[in-house]
């Protein structure tokens, strides 16, 4: 008797999948072999950048919508019997160290979103007392070094422009809302504008937070935040494999840039969102809303922390009672928000 129709279709599909899969693996292995050969010869292979069409195709995926749906799903309270298996699977998949978590009892986390932003036990992360700048988060260093000619590196060999990343320098003047900057200044001149002291240099460091990492971030130095700029945008993945292929990835994605000053001049911390981790919370800024449908991509929304309104106790910028900053934040009217090294600053959330 002839085989059923679905079995016939499967038997035709299987060789096709096997051949295409084998072909892809062969092509991938050949690429790796070429890289090894070049490395043996002392030639550094350029990173295989995605073409404009590939990036456009990726950007056409409604990542913001997917991210918001993911966030909504992760705000649903899980039944008590389901919590431990779900969180254990997450712990096993991403290598979470629950011994460091302030609350080790898995059943007490109502949903995955709450579990994701879990705080750590006090003193689990000692803050280096001698260094003037510390890591603000747990993660992996993607790149660090000097800013050269107004360009930063997201990974070795893949650069992006400082101006595209931070937007025009308007802090210190009238705050701008929803602005676009038509002028594109000389990258090196833009870098010079940021520097406060002649002879100083601009440095940058990129820290990637993997899914299993502690997802809160802290003040990396003693500094004063003067300005916040929120760039709504798509939420592409920022995993190292994507960062190696998509140029200017950090200038595309939704992000929150905090700018201010420290003992040596300009200081900035930029939190960049991703598909799964689309929303960013800054504890001292209750007005900030990220990954919200009302914002259009390609614009930015500014907030000055130096205005008298920003520093008044009734201001929405004042730390909320639930904020980890409530007890320690130092408000300096007309100057900005003074933070000490290691103080809680914000967190990433699922969706």
């Amino acid at each position: 008797a002839p085989a059923p129709h679905f079995l016939q279709a499967r038997s035709r599909l299987l060789p096709l999948l096997v051949f295409s899969g084998t072909g892809y693996l062969g092509y991938d292995q050949y690429g790796r072999y070429q890289d090894r050969r070049l490395a043996e010869l002392g030639i550094e292979a350029p990173p295989p950048l995605a073409s404009d069409n590939q990036v456009a195709l990726y950007r056409s995926i409604p990542t913001r919508l997917v991210s918001r749906a993911w966030g909504r799903l992760n705000r649903v309270e899980l039944p008590a019997w389901l919590r431990k298996p779900v969180y254990r699977l997450y712990i096993w998949t991403f290598g979470v160290n629950m011994k460091e978590a302030e609350v080790e009892d898995l059943a007490s986390y109502r949903n995955l979103g709450e579990f994701f932003r879990r705080p750590l036990k006090p003193h689990t992360r000692p803050v280096c007392p001698s260094s003037c700048v510390i890591s603000p988060a747990d993660g992996r260093v993607l790149h660090c070094g000097r800013v050269v000619n107004g360009e930063l590196e997201q990974v070795k060999g893949v650069t992006y422009k400082l101006h595209d990343f931070l937007g025009p320098i308007t802090w210190g003047s009238t705050p701008n809302t929803g602005g676009h900057d038509p002028s594109l200044p000389d990258p090196a001149a833009f870098e010079e504008q940021l520097l406060c002291s002649p002879g100083n240099q601009l440095y940058h460091c990129v820290v990637y937070l993997a899914p299993g990492d502690y997802h809160r971030f802290h003040s990396p130095a003693d500094w004063t935040i003067e300005h916040r700029r929120h760039f709504p945008g798509p939420l592409l993945s920022v995993s190292p494999s994507v960062a190696r292929r998509v140029r200017s990835l950090f200038c595309v994605n939704e992000r929150v840039a905090l700018a201010g000053r420290w003992q040596h001049g300009f200081f900035s911390l930029v939190a960049v969102g991703a598909t799964n981790v689309g929303s960013i919370r800054i504890y001292c800024d209750q007005e900030l809303q990220t990954n919200a449908p009302r914002y259009t991509t390609g614009s930015y929304n500014d907030r000055s922390y130096t205005s008298p309104l920003a520093a008044s106790p009734s201001s929405p910028l004042a730390a909320s009672p639930s904020s980890p900053l409530a007890a320690s934040q130092e408000e300096l009217p007309g100057i900005g928000l003074a933070l000490r090294k290691g103080e809680p600053l914000g967190e990433f959330n699922l969706g």
């Binding site: 000692p126 803050v127 260094s131 260093v141 993607l142 440095y203 820290v207 200081f267 939190a271």
Partner: protein, 32 residues
Amino acid sequence: STVVLLFEAPPDFSFSLRPGQPIRFGQPLGSL
């Protein structure tokens, strides 16, 4: 998610890190 730090410092600032290195909150990034 990613955190990017951008700061001004004297030219003798040096990072004590290398790309790919795991890092924890509170660890030093570099020194003057």
